[in-house]
């Protein structure tokens, strides 16, 4: 792997995103609108304070998953990926380039969505607000890594988009947002223990209720990071230099 090649790839991906103003708008505005809607629905109750932080972690993952899986599928179909792999560009440079680019975009998204939730919607958390942003960025990179992996199994853009419910909705249902994970039927609790989003939401919930959550959050983030590494390693197996 080579830092220059990774940087070249992230720069290129960000330049591509920059020409697509509507996508940038959707990435930034949609989470704010949804959070605002939720705050309005639960106006006058404590529910928003309980689930708001968890959703701050879910949105970036969903958005980055879709953007990444469609973008890399396009690279496979247009022949640019095959072409890149005939150059000194390595699979690692390619994938990290994507992860860094969308990670940077996620920082912007997380800062704006968190700011909106806290200062406009009045979201109250016990822990520090900056930690919400950190967890959201990890979630976004997780979405990117899972998107890279999913795109390896998609042959068309329709399939790539359908992988979103297939990969992410089960995680969403089991992550502890609907009912706490320890109240799930035992088998489902085991399943939720091996899904990355569960730990992302655990971290967000910890920030919501614990005034000093750093230690607990670091543990959860470590697990999320391991999933990111695992997904990238598996995804690299789907990028082959040679094809039939």
């Amino acid at each position: 792997m080579n830092a220059g090649l990774t940087a070249a790839t992230s720069g290129r991906v960000l330049r591509q995103v920059r020409t697509d103003h509507r996508t940038i708008g959707l990435i930034i505005i949609v989470p704010c609108v949804l959070l605002g809607l939720l705050a309005w629905i639960y106006n006058g109750t404590r529910v928003f304070d309980a689930i708001g932080p968890a959703l701050l972690g879910v949105f970036p993952m969903v958005v980055m998953f879709i953007v990444t899986s469609v973008a890399t599928l396009r690279e496979r179909q247009s022949g640019t990926l095959e072409r890149l792999l005939t150059t000194p560009m390595g699979k690692g440079d390619f994938m990290l380039g994507y992860a860094v680019a969308f990670g940077a975009l996620a920082v912007v998204q997380a800062v704006i969505a968190t700011g909106f939730a806290v200062w406009v919607c009045g979201l109250g958390v016990a822990g520090p607000v900056w930690l919400l942003v950190v967890v959201a960025v990890f979630d976004a990179v997780l979405g990117t890594a899972l998107g890279l992996l999913a795109s390896g199994f998609a042959r068309t853009e329709f399939q790539a988009v359908q992988f979103m419910p297939a990969f992410l909705l089960p995680q969403f249902l089991l992550c502890g947002l609907l009912i706490p994970r320890d109240q799930l039927p035992t088998v489902l609790e085991w399943v939720s223990n091996v899904l990355p989003l569960s730990y992302a939401v655990d971290a967000m919930k910890e920030i919501a209720r614990n005034p000093d959550p750093v230690t607990a959050v670091l543990g959860d983030l470590g697990i999320v990071a391991a999933f990111i590494g695992g997904a990238l390693a598996l995804a690299s197996l789907t990028l082959s230099r040679r094809s039939a």
Binding site: T9, T87, R241
Partner: protein
């Protein structure tokens, strides 16, 4: 600057299966260095597959493909072999310049060297005035020139070009062939596929493929001499007719 001791490409006993079809049944071929070698043949004759083998992206059944002294697709070859696919493979949502810059970076160009290489390449493919346009706003011919530029920017020792002149006007085609000639004179090796036979005369050497077999491996002059034809088109047809008769006799006996 080039290593001229051996051939640019040596193919021996190559067999390739794509889907259920044996696209290349058994192929031996040597492509000399420092020349423009035309790969001709009807569509489905295995031109693109052979090119994919040379750049090392094709899974092969058996045989060896040696490029610049190394097995095709080796890491050492990755900044020495440039590949342009038949359909343009560039980023539609990037500007022309950003595309060429990115592929320049991919082969390790940086700073002033990169800037100069990009400017030189843009003028070679005649896209200077379009440099800041997005590729998606260009015509098909312009898009294929961006794809060509992405390979030229790194000045690879071996350039493998799959139908680079399709859809281009005669002036541009002439200019590109002059560029290919100029590159060959500087010691680069080029393999250019085409089904436009009148481009054959611009090559140093011609390899005619049909159904994955080498029908002829000659200079343009030899081709006309051997077949007694007046142009490459007629010569190619004459060769195919002769081959059909021969294989007919073989199966009859």
């Amino acid at each position: 600057m080039m290593n001229n001791s051996g051939p640019a490409v040596a193919v021996s006993g190559l067999q390739v299966v794509r889907g259920k079809r044996r696209v290349i049944p058994d192929l031996d071929l040597e492509i000399p260095a420092g020349q423009v070698v035309g790969l001709l043949g009807p569509s489905g004759s295995g031109k693109s597959t052979l090119m994919r083998c040379i750049v090392g992206v094709q899974i092969i059944e058996s045989g060896t493909v040696t490029v610049l002294g190394h097995p095709a697709g080796s890491p050492v070859l990755r900044d020495r072999v440039g590949y342009v696919t038949q359909s343009p493979s560039v980023y539609a949502d990037l500007s022309v310049r950003d595309n060429v810059v990115y592929f320049g970076r991919a082969v390790g160009l940086r700073g002033t060297e990169l800037r100069e290489a990009v400017d030189r390449t843009l003028s070679e493919v005649d896209l200077v005035s379009y440099a800041d346009q997005l590729v998606q706003d260009l015509s098909g011919g312009q898009e294929s020139r961006v794809s060509l530029a992405a390979a030229l920017v790194g000045r690879p020792s071996l350039l493998v070009l799959d139908e680079p002149t399709v859809g281009l006007d005669p002036v541009l085609r002439r200019d590109l062939w002059e560029l290919f000639r100029h590159l060959a004179e500087r010691g680069h090796s080029l393999v250019v596929s085409s089904h436009v036979m009148d481009e054959a005369t611009r090559c140093d050497r011609l390899v005619l493929l049909r159904e994955g077999h080498v029908l002829a491996d000659v200079t343009p002059a030899e081709l006309l001499q051997q077949t007694g034809a007046v142009d490459a088109d007629a010569a190619f047809l004459a060769l195919i007719d002769a081959e059909t008769t021969r294989s007919g006799e073989r199966s009859a006996s």
